[in-house]
C-alpha cells in the first residue's frame, strides 16, 4: 500500500485534515532542499509535494516561475531530485512524497526508467500538463511500481470529466480552487464547496484543494469542506525572501505552517 493511502487513512481515523506542503526542488540551492523537506515535516506537514523545476512552467504564477529559475541556475535535474528524495528517506520513511511538475523532464529522462528509479522513494506524481487523455500508457508504468497518479480537477471540469478522471486517479484528487495560476488570490469558498460535493458524488478518493491558500484563515475555511489543503506559493515566497539566510527562512516557513496546521486541527474537529 502506498504511503499516501496509509497517511490519509490514519488522518481519517483521527478525524484530521492533511496539510500538503510544496517546495520547488533546488530552490534556492540544491543543497538546501532535503533540510527544507525535513523542516516542513517538523512543522506539521503530512504530505510533501516536491516541485520538479521546468524552464516553461505555464500553469505557475511568478513566485514558482522564479523558484524554477533559481533551481535551474544550478541545473537541478530529475536525477538530482531522486537523489534528494533518497537522502530524505534516510531519516523519514513515512512522509509521502509527491513529485509535481511538467511532462517534458520526465519524458526526456524516460518514463519507464523514471518509474523504476522512483520506486519505493516517490509515492505519487502530479504532471500538470498531462491530462487523462494523454496518459494511459504513462500511467501504466507508475501503476506497476505503486506510484499514484494524482490528477488535477478545475472549476471548468464537468461531471463527465470528473468521472473519467476519478477512474484513472489514485492516492487523492487535487482540486484547483479557481481558474488561474498558482499563487493568485481568487479563492471563493462557496464555489469550492459546491464543486467538492459534486466530485464526492462520484469518488471515494480524498480531496485536496490547492491554489490560493496562503494563511491559516483560508486553510481553515477550505479544510471545512476538503480532506487536505495544499500550501505552495506562500512557502516558496518565504524561502525567496530569505534565500541568503536559510535559518530564518526555515523559521518563517515553520511558523506559517504551524499556524495553518493548528487551524486545520480546529477545522477538523468542528
Amino acid at each position: 500500500m502506498s504511503r499516501i493511502k496509509t497517511r490519509f487513512d490514519a488522518l481519517k481515523v483521527k478525524n484530521e485534515k492533511a496539510l500538503i506542503s510544496y517546495v520547488t526542488a533546488g530552490d534556492p540551492h540544491p543543497k538546501h532542499t532535503v533540510s527544507i523537506m525535513h523542516a516542513l515535516v517538523e512543522a506539521g506537514t503530512d504530505l510533501i509535494e516536491v516541485g520538479v523545476p521546468f524552464s516553461d512552467p505555464m500553469a505557475d504564477g511568478p513566485v514558482i516561475q522564479k523558484a524554477c529559475e533559481r533551481a535551474l541556475k544550478y541545473d537541478t535535474s530529475l536525477a538530482d531530485i531522486l537523489q534528494m528524495v533518497k537522502d530524505f528517506r534516510k531519516n523519514d520513511q513515512d512522509t509521502p512524497i509527491i513529485l509535481m511538475g511538467y511532462q517534458n523532464p520526465i519524458e526526456i529522462y524516460g518514463v519507464e526508467r523514471f518509474a523504476e528509479d522512483a520506486k519505493g522513494l516517490v509515492d505519487g506524481v502530479i504532471t500538470v500538463d498531462l491530462p487523462p487523455e494523454e496518459c494511459a500508457e504513462i500511467n501504466q508504468f507508475y501503476r506497476e511500481v505503486d506510484i499514484d497518479s494524482i490528477f488535477l480537477m478545475a472549476p471548468t471540469t464537468d461531471i463527465s470529466r470528473i468521472r473519467r478522471i476519478s477512474e484513472m486517479a489514485s492516492g487523492f484528487l487535487y482540486y484547483v480552487s479557481f481558474k488561474g495560476i498558482t499563487g493568485a488570490n481568487s479563492l471563493d469558498i462557496g464555489s469550492v464547496s459546491s464543486k467538492l460535493s459534486e466530485i464526492r458524488s462520484v469518488t471515494e478518493l480524498p480531496l485536496a484543494v490547492g491554489f490560493g491558500i496562503k494563511d491559516a484563515e483560508t486553510a481553515a475555511a477550505v479544510a471545512a469542506v476538503a480532506d487536505a489543503v495544499v500550501v505552495g506559493s506562500a512557502i516558496v515566497s518565504l524561502i525567496a525572501a530569505n534565500q541568503e539566510d536559510m535559518p530564518t527562512a526555515l523559521k518563517e516557513v515553520k511558523s506559517l505552517l504551524q499556524g495553518i496546521k493548528s487551524a486545520l486541527d480546529n477545522a477538523g474537529s468542528i
Partner: protein, 409 residues
C-alpha cells in the same frame, strides 16, 4: 500525373490529425486541466463552423475584400536569371493587409471568437506580425485585445509594437525566461487559464494544444490552394519544388498542405540556422532537436539533456522559437518534407538580394526561404519551377538590419 493516385495520397495527409489531435506520435493536448473543457468547446465550435456555409462565406469574403486575396503568384524573372536554374515564383503573402500571411488565420479565429460570444482576445507574438494581425481584426470587430510579447522582441521589433498600440491593443512585455516568443506563449496561456470565460486565445502558428494546429493549418491552406490553382491556370503545370521558412510553421504548412499528395512536388521547410546548427546558437529543432512536450503538444524541441527548453537564437524574431508545429514533426518523420536550415548571414544576404533584384523587401523570416532557394535553384533545370512563400514584408525589420550594419536611422 494520375489524378486517382494523387487523390489517394492527399487523403493520407488529410487524415491527420486524428480525433484526439495526434499527428502520428506528435500533437495532442498537453495542458492544465482548467483548459481541457475550453479546448473541447473550441473544437466543437470549429467542427460546427468549418462546414457552415455562412461562416465560410464570411471568412472568404473578408479574405477577398479586407485582406486583398488572392495574393499574386509572381514570376521573379531577375532572380531566375541570376540563379541560372529553375524558374522562381513568389507567392506574395507580403501584399496581404498587415503585410504577412498571419492575417489569414487571425480573421478565421476572430470570426470563431465572435460566434462563441467571446469579447476579449489575446495573442502571443514574436516578430509582431501575428500581434499586429490580431490587433487589426480586434479593432475591426470591436474586441478588446491583449498581446504578449517578449521584452527582447519588443526591442527588436519596435515598429510593430507601435502599430499594435495604434490599433488599440495592449502590448504586455514578458520578462520571464528568455524574454522571447516561447515566454510570450507561456504568459498568454496563463492569461487564458485565468480569463477563460470571456477570452479567446488566438494562437498564431500551427502549434499549441489540439485543435489549434489543425485550425491554423486549415485557415492558412488558402495560400497553397491559390498557389496550386494559379500555377495550373497560368502555366498549366504544377511546380517542381516548394520552399517556405519554418518557425512554428504556419506559412509553410499553408503553402505545403494542398501539395502534399502531389508526388512530383519536392517540398523544403527552411529553419533558422542562426550562427550554424553545429554551434548550438540556432532555432532549428527539426534539424538538430529531439521530440518532447511543450506548449500543449508533443513535437521536436530544442532542449537540454535534462529536458529543459534551451534558449534559441535567430536574427529573425519570428523564427526564434524552440519548438515547431506537430504536423511538421510528422511530415519530417514521414519523409514527405525535407527540413533544412540556413544561417543568419545567408538570410541577411538573401534579404538584400531580393530587395535589390526584385524591388521586394522580404521579412527576415522569409529571407531564410529565399536563401535556401538560392542554393536549390541552380541544381534544377530551367524548365522546372520553384514556388517560394514570400510570407511577409520586411519593413518591420529595417531597424534590425540597420543596427547590424552599423547605420543610425
Amino acid at each position: 500525373m494520375g489524378t486517382n493516385v494523387k487523390d489517394k495520397e492527399q487523403g493520407h495527409f488529410n487524415a491527420v490529425p486524428d480525433n484526439r489531435g495526434h499527428f502520428g506520435p506528435y500533437g495532442g493536448r498537453f495542458v492544465a486541466e482548467t483548459l481541457m473543457t475550453p479546448l473541447a468547446e473550441l473544437e466543437a465550435a470549429y467542427e460546427e463552423y468549418k462546414v457552415d456555409p455562412a461562416f465560410q462565406a464570411e471568412f472568404y469574403n473578408d479574405l477577398a475584400h479586407y485582406v486583398g486575396r488572392p495574393s499574386p503568384l509572381y514570376f521573379a524573372e531577375r532572380l531566375t536569371e541570376l540563379w541560372g536554374g529553375a524558374r522562381i515564383f513568389l507567392k506574395r503573402e507580403d501584399l496581404n493587409h498587415t503585410g504577412a500571411h498571419k492575417i489569414n488565420n487571425t480573421i478565421g479565429q476572430a470570426l470563431l471568437a465572435k460566434r462563441m460570444g467571446k469579447t476579449r482576445i489575446i495573442a502571443e507574438t514574436g516578430a509582431g506580425q501575428h500581434g499586429v494581425a490580431s490587433a487589426t481584426i480586434a479593432a475591426r470587430l470591436g474586441l478588446e485585445c491583449v498581446v504578449y510579447m517578449g521584452a527582447e522582441d519588443i526591442q527588436r521589433q519596435s515598429p510593430n509594437v507601435y502599430r499594435m498600440r495604434l490599433l488599440g491593443a495592449t502590448v504586455v512585455p514578458v520578462t520571464s525566461g528568455s524574454r522571447t516568443l516561447k515566454d510570450a506563449l507561456n504568459e498568454a496561456l496563463r492569461d487564458w487559464v485565468t480569463n477563460v470565460d470571456d477570452t479567446f486565445y488566438i494562437i498564431g502558428t500551427v502549434a499549441g494544444p489540439h485543435p489549434y494546429p489543425q485550425i491554423v493549418r486549415d485557415f492558412q491552406t488558402v495560400i497553397g490552394k491559390e498557389a496550386r490553382e494559379q500555377m495550373l491556370e497560368q502555366y498549366n503545370t504544377l511546380p517542381d519544388a516548394l520552399v517556405a521558412c519554418v518557425g512554428g510553421g504556419s506559412n509553410a504548412i499553408g503553402l505545403f498542405h494542398p501539395f502534399l499528395g502531389d508526388e512530383g512536388v519536392a517540398i523544403y521547410g527552411v529553419e533558422a540556422g542562426g550562427h550554424g546548427v553545429d554551434t548550438g546558437m540556432h532555432s532549428a529543432p527539426l534539424s538538430a532537436g529531439k521530440p518532447g512536450v511543450l506548449h500543449g503538444n508533443r513535437t521536436y524541441l530544442m532542449e537540454s539533456e535534462a529536458g529543459q527548453i534551451i534558449e534559441t537564437h535567430s536574427i529573425s524574431a519570428g523564427l526564434d522559437y524552440p519548438g515547431v508545429g506537430p504536423e511538421h514533426a510528422w511530415l519530417k518523420d514521414e519523409g514527405r518534407v525535407q527540413y533544412v536550415s540556413v544561417t543568419d548571414d545567408e538570410a541577411l544576404a538573401a534579404f538584400h538580394l531580393t530587395t535589390r533584384k526584385e524591388g521586394i523587401i522580404p521579412a527576415l523570416e522569409t529571407s531564410h526561404a529565399m536563401a535556401f532557394a538560392e542554393k536549390l535553384a541552380p541544381t534544377m533545370a530551367k524548365e522546372q519551377s520553384i514556388i517560394i512563400n514570400l510570407s511577409g514584408r520586411g519593413d518591420k525589420d529595417i531597424n534590425t538590419i540597420a543596427r547590424i550594419e552599423g547605420i543610425e536611422l
